[in-house]
Amino acid sequence: MGFLDGLLMVFQLHNLVLLVLGVILGIIVGAIPGLTATLAISLLLPFTFSLEASTALIMLIGIYVGGIYGGSITAILLRTPGTPAAAATSLDGYPLMQKGEGGRALGIATSASFFGGQISCIFLIFLSPFISNFAIKFSSAEYFALAIFGLTIIFSVSGKYLLKGVIAGLIGLVINTVGFDVIVAYPRFTFGIRSLMIGFPLLPAIIGLFALSELLRLFEAGVSNDDTIHDNVGRILPRWSDLFHLKWVFLKSSLIGTFIGALPGAGANIASFVAYSECKRTSKTPELFGKGIIDGVAAPEAANNAVTGGALIPMLTLGVPGDAVTAVLLGALTIQGLQPGPLLFRDNPGIINSIFASAIVGNFVMLFIGLFLAKAIAKIAIMKKTTLIPIIAIFSMIGAYAAESSLAHMKIAVIFGIGGYVLEQMDFPLAPIALSIVLGSLAENSFRAALIRSSGDWRIFFHSAISIAFLAIAAGSVFFALRNQYKASKQSSGGVGL
């Protein structure tokens, strides 16, 4: 009954209008590189002080749902992930675009986001206590195992240049060590240069690696006045056959996203890469990944939108945010005078129900707007090269600058752009670099925290079934990747040409 009350609340005219506005705003902000859902919600927070608690939350949840999805649009069309969570989407989304199947990729991304969002809502509504009980089993050793499991994707996204992929991954890990070491709160590898103290933040690094390097590549290909990069984007509305083919990818990635979302130490960025990795690992055609396969778009998109429902689980049940966005939402609840956590269900069931309902309705809004708006937005990508290249350049630089109004961030984007271009020319894949920047600090910090905890005893990583399971799957996928590589090279040349 309570849930119906929530639905009625959401369908009140002013709430519905705010929800739709929130979703649209979220999609726009998400699609613009550099502006994330976290930022959008933080900015909007002061305006919601004066609103009623449930109305404020309905709108904020709309932004959350839209913002996570929005990043995929530019990731697919321009290889410029709007949010770091969409970086994995561009791995297959952009190649699809280049093949003239951008519309198909957008349609899949939209429906995957919708599916992921709804699955996670179902978990949120029915299995919250169960999931949060499982989430608190995660401590440093388990987080380390999860990060390692995620990092093994390097072996699967590297294609035929396995060794180069591993090197690229290591470059990413090294990049990660520059800046401020949070465990001892001391600068590392900054060589006394103050601007290096911020390290290489994820957002400008991703923008540089993917968007700016692509820009340089487009330049290199030569520009003539009537050149368009893509002929068309094709139909957006996904085909039933595609959706049917992807049903297990949808389901599995949604589960991965929901669960990773529920962990306070990991969010949408990590979820999308882990889902991509898992999808490729279990695929019958792993060799097609990275060349433009719809599975590779569906998996990260279902997962990163499933994070929305997942991240709300610990927020509502434990008062602990599951990711950066829910941390801000938690602030919003507190400002409204509500105490998130175990007592919220008892004291304010109305709020809980309106959160549930707005998440579900918000996903429907996102689906419709996504499918209709995508057609209009997609037209951008069929512009002339001479128009498009400056646009990408401006977008990228604004994106790098926007979050902190920082010139240092722009410089970082440029450095990563040039570095990424050079590496790509030398056949180094860029995905492993992005991946190790996303996962590196989680891996390192949880590794060190675990060893501090155990006073240096390595066996801590094998104390719980969770970490053993993750590490075993990780070891297994490395083993199979190496074996396949060995077999392939033996067949082709008879030598071990990594």
Partner: protein
């Protein structure tokens, strides 16, 4: 040709939108201020106080930028923005918050000092202003600022899982000593400067060798660490722990504040328990560059006080458990002068310097 033109137009509109959003990135309170500003135009005394304008002072002429050295949306950021919105009402101009993060707050502080000392750049100073200087990460010090005032002071508590069976801090201390005798350690989850609080407490109680301090990625992670019994205790503020204290899942063994907390009058302070030096708190201070003209500083101090006393701010801060505490510039400097050697001693005990 025409079609192409329309496309370009569309895209430039999008970019324009993007610019305006980026602009919002620095100025959420600006638009909010604008909204309330228009209200003020109709009814200048709507906050109950006439703007504290003295006729001689030609300030502020435009909007003010306030640097928050922490990420947007964190508790420091939210509290800072909220307080500034009331300061903004007092001085009748917009205050735009700019988040400049990194280097444990030192980057933002440094950027604030690099701006002209004309009163148009404010900064928030936190505990790290002391520890970063002591560590030698930066040469910037609170002495480079003219303090406007301190507006929150958040005590640190030792929190344990209720299932631990510990009722008092003495129980915890005995358990730690027993663990040591058995060749084990107790684990205290820490995050940021709460490490100093935990170190200070362990040192004073003589259990430094019986505990390890496990770092965590954030205060919320500390809660799951404790709920999942991965840690024996955590040091944290009241804000994050409150729901679990109310539900009975967690328990405070002692607070490192000067006096007992109004919310939990039964919880003793460490001072009462015989550890008079275990007093530590996170603070938030509003400041401007020390070379700012004294009449502007005086004007801002008056506005800062009025903003703090604004019942709306008091209500907000109470609801948000932001621990509002006011100290004027003199008291704040004295407070920091007293705290500084303690911080240094704690850090040296922890082996951080």
């Amino acid at each position: 040709m025409r079609k192409e033109f329309i496309k370009i137009l569309t895209v430039s509109m999008i970019i324009l939108l993007c610019f305006s959003l980026a602009g919002c990135g620095q100025s959420p309170s600006s638009s909010q201020g604008a909204a309330s500003g228009s209200k003020e135009a109709v009814n200048p005394g709507n906050s109950g106080a006439e703007p504290a304008q003295t006729p001689a002072l030609d300030y502020p002429k435009g909007s003010i930028t306030a640097i928050c050295p922490w990420t947007a949306g964190g508790s420091s950021d939210i509290t800072f923005r909220s307080y500034l919105s009331y300061v903004s009402k007092e001085i009748g101009t917009d205050i735009n918050v700019l988040n400049v993060t990194g280097g444990d707050g030192s980057i933002g502080v440094n950027q604030a000092l690099g701006m002209p000392a004309d009163g148009y750049t404010m900064a928030m100073l936190n505990y790290d202003i002391l520890s970063n200087e002591i560590k030698g990460i930066t040469e910037d010090s609170y002495k480079d600022f003219a303090i406007i005032n301190l507006f929150t002071l958040q005590g640190v508590n030792l929190v344990v899982n209720s299932e631990s069976g510990w009722e008092t801090f003495e129980d915890f201390r005995q358990a730690a000593l027993a663990a040591k005798a058995a060749g084990k350690t107790l684990q205290i989850g820490v995050n940021g400067f709460w490490l100093h609080a935990a170190g200070m407490m362990a040192d004073a109680a003589g259990i430094k060798d019986c505990v390890v301090f496990v770092p965590s990625n954030g205060s919320s992670e500390l809660m799951t660490e404790l709920l999942g019994k991965h840690c024996d205790a955590v040091t944290t503020s009241l804000t994050v722990a409150l729901p679990h204290l109310e539900s009975g899942a967690m328990k405070i063994l002692g607070t490192m504040a000067e006096e007992r907390m109004p919310e939990f009058p039964d919880i003793p302070t460490f001072k009462e328990m015989g550890y008079p030096n275990v007093i530590i708190a996170g603070f938030r201070i509003l400041a401007v560059h020390k070379d700012t003209p004294p009449e502007i500083v005086a004007y801002l101090r008056e506005a800062g006080k009025k903003a703090f006393d604004n019942p709306e701010f008091q209500k907000w801060a109470g609801d948000a458990k932001a621990d509002p505490v006011y100290m004027d510039a003199e008291e704040t400097v004295k407070y920091l002068e007293n705290l500084s050697p303690t911080v240094k001693q704690t850090m040296s005990n922890l082996g951080l310097i």
